[in-house]
């Protein structure tokens, strides 16, 4: 940090000064024209609130939303990885039909806006799936059952379980197209000699993929894969549109009931930033250690 400061020359200072002035001007305008009354002191209550009647802390809107976002991101990442690897392999398959089907799916998803995809998947797919499996009744049963606490640790409020699941499915289906593309690139970057060597010791196509090609491919694509998972966290805000109660949804709710427009959105932005930037730092460190 000290060395950074020492390296600042006058052009840097000038640019910084102009930037600071710009930010200050916007801040003053907001203050003046909007006559907005900042009420930052209310925000902490929406993370954790002390419940007088029961005498305990409980997670309020923002924290609930953050937990839901984290849960959904984890489950959707795992599912997207599984689907994406399958898609990536299918994309490189020797069978033309398999190859074209995978390609069609991936090209479709990568060329339609996420919001549109998410509505389509939600109404056509996950809604039907949830009805067909009768998940609503099942989840309500769990919520009333004995092990509710364990289930809630993993899935949050069990009454909202079906909506969480459809959020996870929709998000995973969407991201799997991108994961599949990354996996395909990894598979195709594995040198031809590796496949030949695998075949020369008598491996079949499945063994060749599983023991030789895929491990090397996945190692090579770790950095873009990490980026894709950070994208997934950011994209997860879209599923608030299908009433999944994630961080964005809860922020909308918070703003609607309290009018803490700027405070709430700035806080939410900061939470997403911390989550994503923190993860990217972790990935970068893991990358360097290898």
């Amino acid at each position: 940090m000290a060395s950074v400061l020492r390296n600042l020359r006058w052009p840097d200072l000038l640019i910084l000064a102009v930037t600071a002035a710009g930010i200050g001007y916007v801040a003053l305008t907001v203050q003046g024209t909007l006559s907005y009354e900042w009420r930052w002191h209310l925000i902490p209550d929406y993370f954790l609130r002390w419940r007088e009647d029961r005498g305990e802390w409980f997670a309020n809107l923002l924290l609930q939303g953050l937990f839901t976002t984290i849960r959904i991101s984890i489950y959707a990442s795992v599912l997207a990885l599984v689907l994406g690897v399958a898609l990536g392999i299918a994309r490189c398959a020797r069978n033309l039909t398999v190859q074209l089907l995978a390609r069609t799916y991936m090209e479709l998803l990568r060329n339609i806006p996420p919001v549109v995809i998410i509505f389509i998947f939600f109404f056509f797919l996950s809604q039907q799936l949830i009805d067909a499996l009768n998940l609503n009744a099942w989840a309500r049963g769990i919520a009333r059952g004995e092990n509710a606490a364990i289930w809630e640790f993993f899935f949050g409020d069990m009454r909202r379980f079906p909506s969480l699941i459809s959020g996870v499915i929709v998000l995973a289906l969407f991201e799997s197209a991108f994961v599949g593309e990354i996996v395909r690139a990894g598979i195709q970057s594995t040198p031809k000699g590796q496949r030949e060597a695998a075949r020369a010791i008598g491996m079949g196509p499945v063994q060749e993929m599983r023991h030789i090609v895929l491990p090397q491919a996945m190692r090579k694509v770790t950095p873009p894969m990490a980026n894709q998972f950070i994208s997934l966290i950011k994209d997860s805000s879209i599923i608030s549109l299908i009433s999944v109660q994630d961080l964005t949804y809860k922020t909308v709710e918070l703003v609607a009931s309290t009018r803490l427009i700027f405070e709430a959105w700035i806080t939410t932005a900061a939470l997403y930033f911390l989550l994503c930037f923190g993860l990217s730092l972790v990935f970068r460190r893991l990358e360097r250690r290898r």
Partner: protein, 247 residues
């Protein structure tokens, strides 16, 4: 000879779009025989031995390996490949596995040996290629010569009936060629059937039972080394030998 030949190639031909890589090639390799294939680059040597384990498909003629007709889509191709070991010019070791795992993955996954047995086998062959101490390293920590010796051991771990070598020393620095050739001479002396594509004429003179000289996709001459190196039948072979031995 009562035993059937290991490899019987009858009038094999192969085209790469428009270009004839193999043209009516016939060659028989018997058990325990060491055949060295040489010829100018682009003459089809590599293509020929890659056909012998189905890595390359041929489009005319018949190829019988260990008594069974071979083509890349034959149902028994995997069984056949276990009987035919292959060593590549670029080693093609698996970089994500340790040396020991490189050797055991075939026996374990393909032959279904239990881990302990596969490892015993691997150590035996590492000993044979004289690098038992490198078992736990990664391939990229080894020199080129060591890597190629590991690749030879990997092929031997499948306990093949015949070993194919596709220019095994061409990608090596000169000072490492000797260690790989030494291992190959040992192997030859142990009675292994070998088909070797190489430009190492010293090695060929020492171990070959027969020399095969190829040019432009054809076998031009097949003769014993003592004749091939002193008095080759064809002018093309004479010219080739002059070019590579002349300086």
């Amino acid at each position: 000879m009562t035993q059937q030949p290991v490899i019987e190639a009858h009038h094999i031909s192969k085209h790469f779009d428009g270009f004839q890589a193999l043209n009516d090639v016939s060659l028989t390799v018997h058990h325990g025989e060491r055949v060295v294939v040489c010829g100018p680059s682009g003459s089809g040597k590599s293509t020929l031995i890659r056909c012998f384990n189905g890595l390359e498909a041929y489009d005319g003629g018949t190829l019988i390996v260990e008594g069974r007709a071979l083509s890349a889509d034959a149902p028994h191709i995997r069984q056949l490949r276990q009987d035919v070991g292959m060593v590549f010019q670029q080693f093609n070791l698996f970089p994500h596995l340790s040396v020991l795992e490189n050797l055991t993955i075939g026996p374990r996954r393909v032959r279904g040996l239990p881990r302990a047995k596969a490892e015993a086998l691997a150590r035996k062959y590492l000993e044979r290629v004289r690098i038992p101490e490198q078992a736990d390293k990664r391939p990229d920590q080894l020199s080129g010569g060591q890597q190629q010796r590991v690749a030879i051991a990997r092929a031997l771990c499948m306990e093949p009936r015949v070993m194919l070598f596709d220019e095994p020393t061409s990608a090596l620095d000169p000072e490492m060629i000797g260690e790989v050739l030494d291992v190959m001479v040992d192997l030859a002396e142990s009675g292994m059937t070998m088909v070797v594509v190489t430009h190492e004429m010293g090695f060929a003179r020492k171990v070959a039972d027969r020399m095969v000289f190829m040019e432009a996709g054809r076998i031009v001459e097949i003769s014993p080394p003592e004749i091939f190196f002193t008095n080759p039948e064809t002018d093309r072979a004479k010219l080739f030998l002059n070019q590579i031995l002349g300086h």
